[in-house]
């Protein structure tokens, strides 16, 4: 069936699949056919007619030119893209397309990189024969990310098809008819989708352009530096466009294995955070409550002597907390430095409360399949993940799987608004365990020799038709090796994460599906490879004397802390507890790109480190792919790349093995130290032997649970500082979201002010009714302004009307 046929394009003989469109074959051959509406990732609309070519088959010419984007290839075709007839047709189309176009290139942001401009140069006339009035289309405000100039629109409908086919939400449409046709939302609302910025790339003209970088630079003034996006475990490939040492904008770089041709808005627009007013530009030390700048050498000496003194007297009294979005090089050097000082307390799992299964966990957890394989799964079970918010482009792969017929089941504390068919079990955190146990039960996983929490849960659970259906689908998919169970950030923040994992493994064993993890940050897999966990060294080597995990280091305060790339009031599982622990410490050294009130209050020494785009390094994505990048711009002021800071700190401490002269050397050392090990989700021990084995934490069944999800634009210090993202509908702030019935039962109404209390931790906020939230839960996000004074993200909470 897939026998290739031979055709001829512009005299060149080439092979093609029968049924493939002429334009696709020509693109492969490097033969340029002008086009506007065709896009390789979108359906074929064939509405612009720019791609007209002359075709003959077996010597019989087609009477009229044919659109190359919509003409399937058949044996014996001869295509001419530049014959007199083809060129005439293309010129004619061009003339029509320009009739209503304003020809305002000099004041258009797209000028210089505009498909219409380019094609008009090739096919347009110097002078227009059209002297009638031109159409004018009023603009719509599509929100803070996309600028519109709809008079320039040529109705290619790429943006409309993007919404329908890729985003899965149709926001833009073509309304009106003929002369009155226009592209817009028709009702003037802000476009609210986590991938919306892609229409900027798709739009072949200057109708849709990037608002934050509008009029900042001309395309030809920009230097392009390849990079890797720093916000999720996908590691989307990007191009940074730089002018005079400043990142002007970010575009996607095609990589079929990672981001295809897309980019999430978070990765596209977060660069604005680099230029926030609170960048830390010089080392600072606090003396008698006052902050003073000081030279690097002095700052590092102070930090080194302070840390060394505490480590010498009691290494267990020192701890390192590092962002999961730090580079591999930083992670490796940081753990090397700490361990050389004898410090074993180090971790990157900043939002994980439950580390009871560390010993049994896989040494090097990862996604479980290559990213492109996600779309080829037949059944997916997603546990504790707000998928679109956590991993926007991975959500697109899951959507593709679902569109191809995969069954997708989710177990979450609130219902997700998804763009594909799915089955959702929405339950409070304790009941989430029972939902999973019910699926395990439906798979016949009840009887296992010993008792234990997992067996008890399965014993208690009742499988309903939905659980049975999911079980059946997972088993059928497992048989073909196409079943995948993924644990996300809400699972990792769950007080019984170890039980969720044990249940996931139970289900996997019984169904033949694989287990995978959605890693935190940009480099969660890299953190494990680098040995940035308390119980394993580089390459996942087990340690005889494990240290404390992040949660434990803060629950039982240490004397000294090194914080790396994080804000203690926003990036830790329990900000109230963390701030208490840090306030009580003798020494807090914070390496940070931003100078925040919380750091000023809690730290003693601030070391300015380079942020994203300012340092070279490597991220290992969810699929275990190492993606290296160079610095695109110079860090501001005295800020320095993190790996260099750690290296000099190592020298200052008199430690051996800190002589690297480039990040590449650090990387080579990590590879040699076992960093090249392949990630593997096989558990290192019995996942059900959770020590100690009390009743599940969540069995206490509190009256009300806080679900402290991390909104898409609150996940890390950089993205929180991008104003454009914050002002989109997805940039949510603090609120107490309750199911209407839950609110009514508590005598609360929409808009009521409430005092939120988690033990001693308190905050005030307002009630928002939201039927998506499970009964028994209040969704009160973490990482957003106002959440700093609260406790653990998934934990009991009380509400009191004020």
């Amino acid at each position: 069936m897939t026998d290739k046929v031979t055709i001829e394009i512009d005299g060149r003989t080439c092979e093609a699949q029968p049924g493939e469109m002429i334009i696709a074959a020509a693109d492969r051959e490097g033969i340029v056919i002008p086009r506007f509406c065709y896009h390789k990732k979108l359906s074929i609309a064939a509405n612009c007619r720019m791609c007209l070519v002359e075709v003959e088959q077996n010597g019989r010419p087609f009477p009229k030119p044919l659109p190359a984007c919509a003409t399937p290839i058949a044996a014996g075709m001869r295509v001419q893209t530049r014959s007199a007839k083809a060129l005439e047709a293309q010129r004619g189309t061009m003339e029509f397309l320009l009739i209503n176009h304003p020809l305002d290139c000099p004041i258009c942001d797209q000028g210089g990189e505009c498909e219409l401009q380019d094609v008009a140069m090739g096919y347009g006339d110097d002078l227009s024969r059209y002297s009638e009035g031109k159409r004018v289309v009023l603009d719509e405000d599509l929100g803070p990310l996309i600028a519109t100039d709809m008079t320039r629109c040529i109705h290619c409908t790429r943006c409309v098809r993007f919404g329908a086919e890729i985003a899965g939400v149709r926001e833009l449409g073509a309304t009106g008819r003929g002369e009155d046709m226009r592209i817009g939302t028709y009702v003037g609302h802000t476009v609210a989708h986590e991938l919306s910025g892609n229409v900027i790339d798709l739009c072949p003209v200057g109708a849709l352009t990037a608002k934050p970088s509008r009029f900042q630079a001309r395309a030809w003034e920009l230097r392009t530096v390849p990079g890797v996006a720093p916000h999720d475990a996908l590691g989307a490939n990007i191009e940074l466009h730089v002018r005079r040492g400043r990142v002007i904008r970010i575009h996607p770089r095609d990589n079929e294995a990672v981001n295809e041709t897309w980019l999430a808005d978070r990765d596209r627009f977060s660069y604005a955070g680099l230029y926030s007013d609170d960048r830390l530009c010089e080392p600072m030390v606090k003396r008698d409550g006052e902050w003073h700048p000081l030279p690097w050498a002095d700052a590092l000496r102070l930090a080194a002597t302070g840390l060394a003194a505490r480590a010498q007297s009691d290494a267990a009294a020192v701890g390192l907390l590092m962002s999961p979005s730090a580079t591999l090089e930083e992670m490796y050097l940081a753990q090397k430095l700490m361990r050389a000082l004898g410090v074993a307390n180090l971790d990157h799992r900043l939002r994980q409360q439950d580390c009871r299964s560390d010993a049994a966990d896989p040494a090097l957890p990862w996604l479980g399949v290559p990213i492109a394989e996600v779309e080829r799964q037949a059944a997916l079970l997603l546990i504790g993940t707000d998928l679109r918010q956590e991993q926007p482009l991975l959500a697109h792969r899951v959507r593709k799987a679902a569109l191809a017929g995969a069954s997708v089941t989710l177990v979450n504390p609130y219902r997700l608004d998804l763009t594909f068919a799915n089955r959702q079990f929405v339950a409070d955190p304790a009941a989430m365990l029972l939902e999973l146990a019910a699926i395990a039960k439906a798979l016949g996983g009840a009887a296992k020799e010993a008792g234990g929490a997992v067996a008890d849960l399965i014993g208690m659970a009742k499988a309903n038709a939905g659980h049975k259906e999911t079980a059946k689908q997972l088993r059928a998919a497992g048989k073909q090796g196409a079943g995948l169970i993924l644990l996300g950030a809400l699972a990792a923040a769950h007080p019984d994460y170890s039980l969720l994992k044990a249940l996931a493994y139970r289900i996997a064993t019984a169904s033949g599906a694989r287990v995978g993890f959605l890693p935190a940050g940009a480099n969660g897999v890299g953190a494990h490879l680098a040995g940035l966990v308390p119980h394993r060294g580089p390459g996942g080597a087990p340690l005889a004397a494990p240290g404390l995990a992040a949660a434990a280091m803060l629950a039982a305060p240490r004397r000294a802390y090194l914080l790396w790339g994080l804000e203690p009031d926003r990036d830790l599982a329990d900000p109230a507890q963390a701030q208490r622990a840090l306030a009580g410490a003798e020494l807090v050294v914070a390496a940070t790109s931003f100078r925040t009130p919380a750091l000023e209050a809690l730290a003693d020494i601030l070391l300015p480190i380079a942020a994203f785009a300012e340092t070279s390094g490597t991220f290992v994505n969810a699929a275990g792919t190492w993606q290296g990048f160079a610095g695109a711009v110079v860090p501001p002021g005295e800020a320095r790349p993190g790996w260099k800071v750690l290296r000099v700190l190592g020298n200052e401490l008199g430690l051996a093995g800190f002589e690297q002269t480039s990040s590449a050397e650090v990387l080579a050392e990590l590879r040699a130290a076992g960093g090249e090990a392949t990630p593997d989700n096989a558990p290192a021990g019995d996942p059900e032997a959770i020590a100690p084995v009390p009743a599940p934490v969540s069995a206490e069944r509190p009256d009300l649970w806080r679900i402290g999800n991390l909104p898409i634009y609150a996940i890390d210090p950089l993205v929180r500082r991008a104003p454009a993202l914050r002002h989109t509908p997805l940039g949510e702030g603090l609120a107490v979201r309750l199911h209407p019935e839950e609110a009514a039962a508590r005598g609360l109404a929409d808009g009521d002010a409430v005092l939120v209390a988690q033990g001693e931790a308190r905050a005030t906020s307002r009630v928002v009714l939201d039927a998506a939230v499970a009964r028994g839960c209040a969704r009160i996000p973490s990482g957003v302004p106002g959440s700093e004074s609260l406790g653990a993200s998934i934990a009991p909470v009380t509400l009191e009307k004020v």
Partner: protein, 180 residues
Amino acid sequence: MGFRDTPAGAAPSPADPQRDKGQLFTPEIRAAIDRAIAQYPPEWRQSAVMPALTLVQEHNGGWLSRELMDDVAAYLDMPAIAVYEVASFYSMYDLEPVGRHKVCVCNSVSCMLNGSEDLIGHVTDKYGVRPGETTPDGRFTLKEVECLGACRHAPAVLVGKTYHECLTPQALDRLIEDLE
């Protein structure tokens, strides 16, 4: 462009699967839309969008508000924008309040060649309404529409649901005079 009865810039109500379809429209309209839906395979519910809009418009004094289009979207499980596209494309849907009658003059090519411009000019002069406008007494709305499919007897005018063909300005006048 723009809609009546909707605060400007408000977010649209997306096709919300949670919305209770049993609460939309009246039981009679629902039954009629359901009959239209039944004409198509079950997965093509959306094919009933045109009859549904027609029904809803008839029960709303001849025009569609944005809320009604949103309701149709919810009822047919389709994105609201897809309903706006249909409603704004066809000239038989009105998105602004209209008069008691609609006088729809075809101005596509056959009718135009046979004098439809004169018909429009005549009505505009005599009753003071341009295409798209309603007489001050609310008696009728003058509309210029695309080909009515009656080219053979052009120029054609649709008044309410009745076709009138081979019209002269005088003949059209008589039709208008007869309107309540």
